[in-house]
Symmetry: C2
Subunit: 232 residues, 2 copies
């Protein structure tokens, strides 16, 4: 058994029962290797924790920014709860040392995008476990201590706006219209397609650009559009 | 002023202040027409209510189905909180009669998809307003009274399963085999391809259909297969 009491100290939460805390740390792969293990994996806790996290952050932003429109709050929320940011928080709490992973998964996923996803999911599962064990108020404090404290930095650095969001925010302000994207062409074989996407405000074509996926092409088109409009 | 006291009776919630209830009913279009109107529109309340709804439904499903995997809970949740279902609930509560809409919007959107979205958003805004006014316990009861009560019907009728999942579930039950899909043809230029996909149980061809992407073609093929087998 991992030293869960040490982890409790690190996260500054005292659990009524350590079973829930343990379950939050169990990746599905571990159970394949240890079918006799007494705990379930953490996916159901992640399902719950994701919704708890969403409400806590939503409520926090709703109260903190009484004048901001919903679109901006949505962007700010995304900047806080995206997988990359959650994985970072999980690393700060050293959750890496407490994961129950199969040997294969531990080896393969070390320091990769896959590990980042596992850590982000574990962070959400931990939130689910704290919520079940100690209730909304305690988990809210945990989230504020570990996550929403980053908001000042995110705001100062404008990290909350990717090109698409930024273009949308300004377009809504100036035109009261939400930009939309259209795939103009797909070229190349299935495994190496290049997408060309155009971005429009209402019927007006603004710019186009390409990428290796539709999403990438949209982001690039938004960047071109920001440049073209001089909205940078 | 609309008869909000009548609405309170209909939704069985007594507000401490009717301002919040009123705000939940104000569509953005109304303020363009009445810039002097004292209330803000409902989009921030919708932002909040959406997250409240998500947690209430998530927690409900988590507790009600202790054995189900996260994937099934996610499908069930989607069947409860999708815009179509929320709009239906809004209609049952006669929210249509209480909306603050611009004349243009009221005329144009009557009985369309756009109106359905407005109603679904208003239902979420109402949830946000109840949460702010009366707290989590009361809004939870409201949601259970109006929304999660439909779960039994959704489960019986398999409404929570998209066509592919439904076909897979029944095929596994009857044949102990998982259906698989094959692209039969791709026709047309790169930017406007039409895919034709066949669905099979073991070696047995069941049905085929087409779509503008492989995924769409698979879903259509599953629908055709459900029809052909009489599994609807």
């Amino acid at each position: 058994m991992k030293d869960l009491v040490k982890l409790e100290k690190k996260i500054k939460i005292k659990f009524n029962g350590l079973d829930l805390l343990q379950q939050a740390l169990v990746h599905r792969s571990y159970l394949n290797e240890h079918p006799e293990f007494k705990s379930d994996h953490n996916e159901r806790l992640e399902f719950l924790g994701d919704a708890v996290l969403e409400l806590v952050v939503t409520e926090y932003l709703y109260e903190k920014f009484p004048q901001e429109p919903e679109g901006k709050l949505t962007n700010l929320r995304a900047s806080l709860v995206n997988a990359h940011h959650l994985a970072q928080k999980a690393k700060e709490l050293k959750l890496n040392n407490y994961l129950y992973l199969s040997k294969g998964e531990a080896k393969e996923s070390s320091n990769t995008k896959a590990r980042e996803n596992i850590l982000a999911n574990t962070f959400e599962a931990l939130i689910g476990a704290i919520y079940l064990d100690s209730g909304y108020k305690i988990v809210k404090k945990f989230i504020e201590r570990n996550l929403t404290k980053d908001l000042a930095k995110i705001l100062t650095q404008g990290l909350y706006l990717d090109a698409k969001s930024k273009f949308q925010e300004i377009a809504q302000e100036k035109y009261a219209l939400t930009p939309h994207y259209k795939v103009l062409s797909e070229v190349g074989p299935d495994h190496a397609k290049i997408f060309k996407v155009g971005v429009y405000i209402g019927p007006e074509f603004i710019a186009s650009d390409q990428g290796l996926s539709k999403q990438e092409a949209q982001v690039n088109a938004a960047k071109s559009a920001l440049k073209k409009k001089g909205w940078q």
